[in-house]
């Protein structure tokens, strides 16, 4: 098996265990036994279970940021509501390709500081947050979004609901991420009140 495939399999197997048992409740031995490998083989690729958790988060965040950056270039050309839709669609699409990453991030949020490169992970999540801020700010400044609600509260809620939706819909996410994203966007932008007429 090629090194890359093997790394990939380790990340997937360990990720699934982390989601069920938490990083603290998972051992390298369990990951190895799940893959019918020796612990030594796992250690050849990763020095610790924490470094595996770290690698899962980095790969997810790197892909997410690359996509956000590509989308973000359009800020002067694309309508804010369309950018908003792309942001949520992109987030869910990338999440669908990284099973376990959102779950690990949210379950371990209080324990992330034990990860070997938590500063880098925090820096990447801060960059992702800034993309959301930028798009929401552009929308407010152009008059497309409301200005009578605190910007940061709105961002926190929208951001949180997007990742919570990923976790709630994990089983259907791969096939249905577009529909799930669009329903969330529809509620957030248009509200739940039935329109007259």
């Amino acid at each position: 098996m090629a090194d890359r495939d093997r790394r990939e399999r380790i990340l997937r197997t360990a990720g699934a265990l982390f989601v069920v048992r938490g990083v603290a409740g998972t051992t390298i031995r369990q990951i190895a036994s799940e893959m019918s490998m020796s612990s030594g083989t796992i250690y050849y690729y990763y020095p610790s279970k924490e470094s595996i958790a770290s690698a899962i988060l980095h790969r997810f965040l790197d892909e997410l940021l690359a996509e956000y950056e590509q989308q973000g270039l359009d800020i002067d050309e694309v309508r804010p509501d369309e950018l908003f839709r792309r942001l949520i669609r992109t987030s869910m699409e990338i999440a669908s390709r990284h099973p376990n990453a959102t779950e690990i991030y949210s379950n371990e949020s209080s324990a992330l500081s034990i990860l070997p490169d938590h500063d880098e992970i925090a820096a990447k999540t801060a960059r992702a947050r800034n993309h959301w801020r930028r798009i929401l700010t552009a929308g407010r400044e152009s008059g497309a979004f409301r200005s009578d609600v605190a910007a940061e509260h709105v961002r926190e809620v929208i951001n949180h609901l997007t990742w919570a939706s990923v976790r709630w819909n994990r089983a259907q996410l791969e096939t249905d991420h577009r529909r799930i994203a669009d329903e969330l966007v529809s509620i957030l932008l248009d509200g739940y009140l039935r329109r007259a007429g």
Partner: protein, 199 residues
Amino acid sequence: MNGAVRNILDAGGRLFSEYGVAATTVRQIADEAQMSLGGIYHHFSSKEAIASELISRFVGSLEDEYARLARSEGSFQDRIAELVVLSLRISADHPWATETYFREATNLVALPDHENISRAVRRNEMLWLELTTAGVAAGEFRDDVDVAAFTRLLSESVWLTVRLHRPVLAERYELLADELLKLLVEGYRAGAATGRRDG
């Protein structure tokens, strides 16, 4: 409420929210509450009993107020607004109970009163869903999005707001509720509210 008990619940809640029940000791709670260990044990038999009492009081208050709301009249938009406001207000009255509940959600069985807590939580969740469902049936709310999905988004955003805004919750809960309703019920699009159905 007994001042010592309140003090213990508050100190315990702060520690549980940050470290979890498993990683907190009764000794730490005593230090945090500036009481003696004996003083704590006079009121509670264990740290689990403290966490249990903290959460029980909170979900019990919610249940009482929700029951009152279920009997009230008026538009469903107003009743949903009231639901959000009182959820935040009761959360402010019970510092750290929401945080402790969320942290312990996967391990509730460790708490002595977990069966009653789970029952109350289920009843409370059911009330949210009954109100939104009735609002859809009455034609006030959209029928083109899944009512359970919307209800989950709304309640998730309420409990998130509690956790993120804990230090200012007591003074700002009305404003925070208003913002959540503008976002999720009226919609974030500028002018979305003006097209709304009257009454």
